[in-house]
């Protein structure tokens, strides 16, 4: 699956798409592959604050529980409630329909610390090499 060039990525495999100070956040295709079939997702409430590097939610596959870390600091303005009943969307369309939250960023300049698509792809290529070694 292609990594959209306009998104920015974290080492923890979240993506962020910023438009006029509001970031849409989800997990990457690499992450959904590593998780396997997603069966459960827990997201923060609208109005709550998230903070760079701190967990804001949880995704669970049959086997594993994984925390999702905030790529930036801000206030949650919308959550993707459809994921509650259809968590499998995270496997099917992680970069699109399965976005998780929208956040009004406290400091939009934070995005500059994250990887662009090319850097992220190089990062996961390295990880895959480690895994198959």
């Amino acid at each position: 699956m292609a990594y959209p060039p306009q998104y920015r990525y974290t080492k923890d495999h979240e993506w962020m798409d910023v438009k006029s100070g509001v970031a849409t956040i989800g997990i990457t295709d690499y992450a959904q592959h590593a998780l396997g079939d997603v069966v459960f997702v827990e997201l923060p409430k609208v109005g709550s604050k998230i903070e760079t590097g701190k967990p804001f939610g949880t995704v669970e596959s049959v086997k594993a529980v994984s925390e999702i870390y905030a790529p930036a600091t801000g206030e949650v303005v919308e959550t993707n409630v459809a994921l509650q009943n259809e968590p499998e969307k995270i496997n099917a369309d992680p970069h699109g329909a399965a976005w998780m939250i929208k956040v009004r960023l406290t400091n939009p300049a934070e995005i500059n610390k994250l990887m662009d698509a090319a850097a992220y792809e190089a990062f996961i290529a390295e990880k895959n090499k480690e895994a198959s070694a």
């Binding site: 459960f40 594993a64 994984s66």
Partner: protein
Amino acid sequence: MEFVNSPTTIEPRKTSLNAIHRRLGAKMVNFGGWDMPVEYPATGGLMAEHRAVRASVGVFDVSHMGDIRIMSGSAPGGAMAAVQHISMNDASRLEIGQAQYSAMLYPEGTFVDDVIVHRLGQDDFLLVINAGTREKDIRWVRENTRGFDCVVADLSDAYTQLAIQGPRGVDVLQKLSDTNLNAIKNYWFTHGTVCGLKDTLIARTGYTGEDGFEIYVPSDEAVSEMVWAKVIDAGREFGILPCGLGARNTLRLESKMALYGHEISDAVNVFEAGLERYCKMDKGNFVGRTALERASSTGQKRVLVGLQMIDRGIARDGYHCCNERGAVIGEVTSGSPSPTLGKNIALAYVPPEMAAIGTPVYVEIRGQRHKAEVVPTPFYKRSKPATARQVTKAV
């Protein structure tokens, strides 16, 4: 994102099928010191594997399991006496060609491991043990059989063990064997030709709650790969899937089969685990019996129950269980979504007064209490034996 199964630094052991698993793109994990497939995402992954076993057939590499043979020494009867001494079920009730679920116990009545005891001959037994406890088990068996006239052999590395599980497992294996498999009853075994390999142990056993077979072939890599390939080929018409430890765990959990280190351990006794029907107190003395006699008269402090989540949330291994007032009263031993039921289920230890069906139990998930209730177990029971199903189909 942070993944739970992070790689470990100690080099794990590999089964003879390791290269095949990697070629299939399996997600590998370190399980009890073994590099094992947890699921095969390229062929559908855990959920699909689970469903294949319930509806049709799946094949598992379970070569990490250990095998201990106990044979007679200078005079007959030594192996039988030794097996009776180290296991809680009554091996003297076994016919030659029959197997039983049993366990080896510490003097405290707690578990060294659970085992399947196969009676190979009049005075000849094969004990199949868990992977993670192999070295400990073998040491324990050697120590505790020292006073008996028997020979103990560790055959763990001699076999590749494949589990062919599911209602069509019999059809798949029959294509590869001239032995009449329908004549083998549940928990019986025979020796026959499989994939041209003479004298292969074929047992109608498994760890999925489904009909199926476990076969033991030489662990030579070329032979193991040949057998695996033939099973996959023979199963293609039935939609066979290679299955990993993930599906193995959800299948056994739905069927309430114990997993060492979870439902049973060196801290849990036979009564607490609810396995007393496999413990024959009347067979004579065995390691752990005295403590169990005492325990049965004093009653249990905790019992193993099945839980189903009512609130949204998945109970996981090690999560706390609370009562309505919020006091911690027990612990989840295994918890997972149930692919067959579409519910979130768990096994947990709770006090006996909270074990009645319908009792509310609260599971603490990330600091918040989530309501569950005690439900009957097993969560899943296969409806008809294989032969009855065939009859129904013919009609």
